[in-house]
């Protein structure tokens, strides 16, 4: 059986909503026109129930989207379409009773060409019942084989396979602006509306997204593209809008905007199993939003999670800014084996120092806010590497305890022949 939803609203937005409603029942739908959609309902019987329950469920979901229209349910696609287009409310046509329901429809309701219509009109054929009563052979002889198909339609017995709507560009929304907009705030209203529609579409198909692509067509004929990656699958439109706002404040478009396009990459939604004994962790959406706010405050390169690099370069690390998602299980931190380790803290930037030497060993150190006699010194520890790149290093390290009470690391940059206080043990 097939259900046809006909909503004679006509607006583009309602048409998209209608598709969303139909897609929430079946991945295969036929878009007859902007106002009419057909979907198969045989498989829904197991999940929802008999046709009248399916019809009421379709009506309920359509009402949620503020769509008003008719629903026709029949054993053939064309009969369902005829019923939805010509009978108000919900119409369920049992098998064999098609002519009883559609027989009174005007002949114009068939997809009939003008020439055939004029012939039928001259014959005095006004309704589908009149047309279906004509003998098949005579109709075929006078109007050709296409008319036989039309006659089967009028009897409600013409069957044809569903023509599924092609996939693609489903999670993309575009909005042309009537006037150029150069402020971000008005654009956010439009973005919010587009994101709501896209996220509703994702929700109706139990999907989520990990990537959002935004394109502004600018008045100067260029485009402003931004891509946001989410470290987790989400369909929270409010969170996406806030992240977009922060991103646009950090990277505003270079001109007035004339069109907005938002697209989402659909992925499977997250499945989480929380437990009573799960360790404390920030909610991914909240964490991402908080970090985005802090990035706008402190700079993108200054926020993230440090990652040690596999190199002999002293203190080599990089900031991992994306994908702040907790590992599946708490990773066991590396063992401290043998008690506490002295912490080290860097001076940023390293303090340029004047060092007095005695037989090659530092005896007195003077730097900004640091000065004192060297009480004990250990070194030099010479390291060098990456000489084949532009980021080579070649340095001698000293650990010194000064009379001011601090334990410092002195570094001789051998290429510059200069001393620095890199940091302190603390």
């Amino acid at each position: 059986m097939y259900a046809c939803i006909h909503a004679p609203d006509g607006s583009e937005q309602k048409g998209a909503d209608l598709i969303d409603v139909a897609k929430s029942f079946s991945p295969l739908i036929e878009i007859v026109d902007r106002n009419t959609i057909v979907l198969p309902i045989d498989a829904l019987r197991r999940y929802i129930g008999p046709p009248h329950q399916i019809a009421s469920e379709i009506a309920r979901r359509a009402a949620e989207r503020k769509i008003t229209g008719n629903i026709g349910i029949a054993h053939t696609i064309e009969t369902a379409i005829l019923a939805a287009r010509n009978l108000s409310g919900v119409t369920i046509i049992p098998k064999g009773a098609e002519s009883k329901y559609i027989g009174e429809f005007r002949i114009e309701t068939l997809p009939i060409d003008a020439e055939t219509y004029s012939v039928l009109d001259r014959w005095g054929i006004r309704t589908l019942a009149d047309f279906s009563a004509l003998p098949d052979d005579e109709v075929a002889e006078r109007l050709g084989p296409a008319a036989i198909r039309l006659q089967q339609y009028s009897r409600g017995i013409a069957d044809r396979p569903l023509k599924p709507a092609p996939l693609g560009a489903e999670y993309e929304e575009r909005f042309e602006l009537e006037h150029e907009v150069s402020l971000i705030e008005p654009l956010l209203f439009i973005l919010g509306r587009l994101l709501n529609a896209l996220c509703d579409r994702l929700r109706s198909r139990s999907l989520a997204t990990t990537e959002l692509h935004l394109r502004f067509d600018l008045a100067n004929r260029s485009a402003h593209d931004r891509t946001l990656q989410f470290p987790f699958a989400t369909r929270d439109s409010k969170m996406m809008l806030k992240l977009l706002q922060l991103d646009l404040e950090a990277h505003p478009p270079a001109g007035a905007v004339v069109a907005v396009m938002v697209s989402l990459t659909p992925v499977k939604s997250r499945v989480l199993q929380n437990g009573l004994y799960t360790p404390l962790a920030p909610e991914p959406e909240k964490l991402e939003l908080t970090l985005a706010k802090i990035r706008s405050l402190a700079g993108e390169e200054n926020v993230g999670s440090p990652q040690l690099l596999n190199t002999h370069r002293p203190g080599a690390w990089k900031m991992r800014s994306g994908a702040m998602v907790a590992p599946a299980a708490a990773s066991v931190p590396c063992s401290r084996g043998g008690g506490q380790r002295i912490g080290f803290r860097y001076f940023s930037p390293p303090a340029r120092a004047r060092v007095e030497l005695d037989n090659g060993v530092p005896r007195r150190v003077f730097a900004k806010r640091i000065s004192g006699d060297v009480i004990q010194a250990a070194g030099p520890w010479r390291t060098s590497g990456d000489w084949w790149t532009n980021e080579s290093w070649d340095r001698d390290d000293w650990d010194v305890a000064l009379s001011d009470g601090g334990i410092y690391r002195l570094v001789v940059e051998r290429r510059m022949d200069a001393w620095f206080v890199e940091g302190a043990y603390d």
């Binding site: 360790p279 404390l280 962790a281 920030p282 909610e283 909240k286 964490l287 939003l289 908080t290 970090l291 706010k293 802090i294 405050l297 402190a298 700079g299 200054n302 926020v303 993230g304 999670s305 440090p306 990652q307 040690l308 002293p314 203190g315 690390w317 900031m319 702040m324 907790a326 590992p327 708490a330 990773s331 931190p333 590396c334 063992s335 401290r336 043998g338 008690g339 506490q340 380790r341 002295i342 912490g343 080290f344 803290r345 860097y346 001076f347 940023s348 060993v361 004990q376 010194a377 250990a378 650990d399 305890a401 009470g405 601090g406 334990i407 410092y408 940091g423 302190a424 043990y425 603390d426």
Partner: protein
């Protein structure tokens, strides 16, 4: 006019009753000597660690972060002066993959705002605010209302806010105030072939007052 106690509705009496502070769960510092004195850092409160340079503040912080990592908690470090050394933190046992690091380029106000956002985001076991290398003249200008705001925001959460500095900043808002001192730096080896081997630090809890404890930490190899 005489008001009899029996005439006052019970809900008013309850609201006027002095609220006893509930026993808070504590995160171990990971150092037995320190735990024996301060019993760990109270969750839902501010812990202040103060002291001069090389007094062991960072060592103690790394140790607490390592304990939080062992429990599976997420941590955040708001680093006012970009001082964190991830290598020594990882060597102390800190789980870097569950740690958010915010570098504030020496801007204390930025650090306070970032800490505020993190505290209100929730979900962190420990948030450390490192103001060690910020000039005391700057930290003294931080309005006390910030610290009251922080205390109020975390008081019913399992989060510990650790503030590192040269001198106390949160003052009355801190649940635990620890003062650190360096006792000795121990170098090992013959003359000319020495290396920094260990350092010995002193811990004194000023609030609530507790006896002094000392612990040793080894240098990285």
């Amino acid at each position: 006019m005489v008001v009899h106690a029996g005439a006052i509705p019970s809900h008013i009496v309850t609201n006027l009753t002095w609220r006893q502070e509930s026993q808070r769960e504590r995160i171990s510092t990971g150092i037995d000597e320190v735990n024996s004195v301060i019993e760990g850092c109270p969750r839902g409160g501010i812990t202040e660690i103060t002291g001069p340079l090389s007094s062991g503040r960072t060592t103690l912080l790394h140790s607490i972060l390592a304990e939080a990592a062992r429990l599976g908690d997420w941590c955040a470090i708001v680093d006012a002066t970009n001082a964190l050394d991830p290598t020594s933190a990882a060597a102390a046992g800190v789980d870097l993959s569950r740690m958010v690091w915010i570098r504030c380029d020496g801007d204390a106000s930025r650090a306070m705002k970032a800490a505020d956002l993190l505290i209100h985001a929730g979900g962190f076991g420990i948030i450390a605010l490192d103001l060690c290398d910020v000039e005391p003249q700057v930290t003294r200008r931080i309005p006390l209302s910030w610290w009251f705001r922080f205390r109020r925001a975390i008081e019913n959460t399992p989060c510990v806010l650790i503030v590192l500095g040269r001198e106390p900043n949160a003052k009355a808002c801190a649940s635990l105030l620890v003062e650190m001192q360096r006792e000795a730096a121990l170098f090992k080896g013959a003359n000319g072939f020495q290396r920094l081997d260990r350092a010995r630090f002193q811990v004194t809890a000023q609030k609530p007052p507790r006896p002094t404890a000392a612990f040793e930490a080894r240098a990285l190899e």
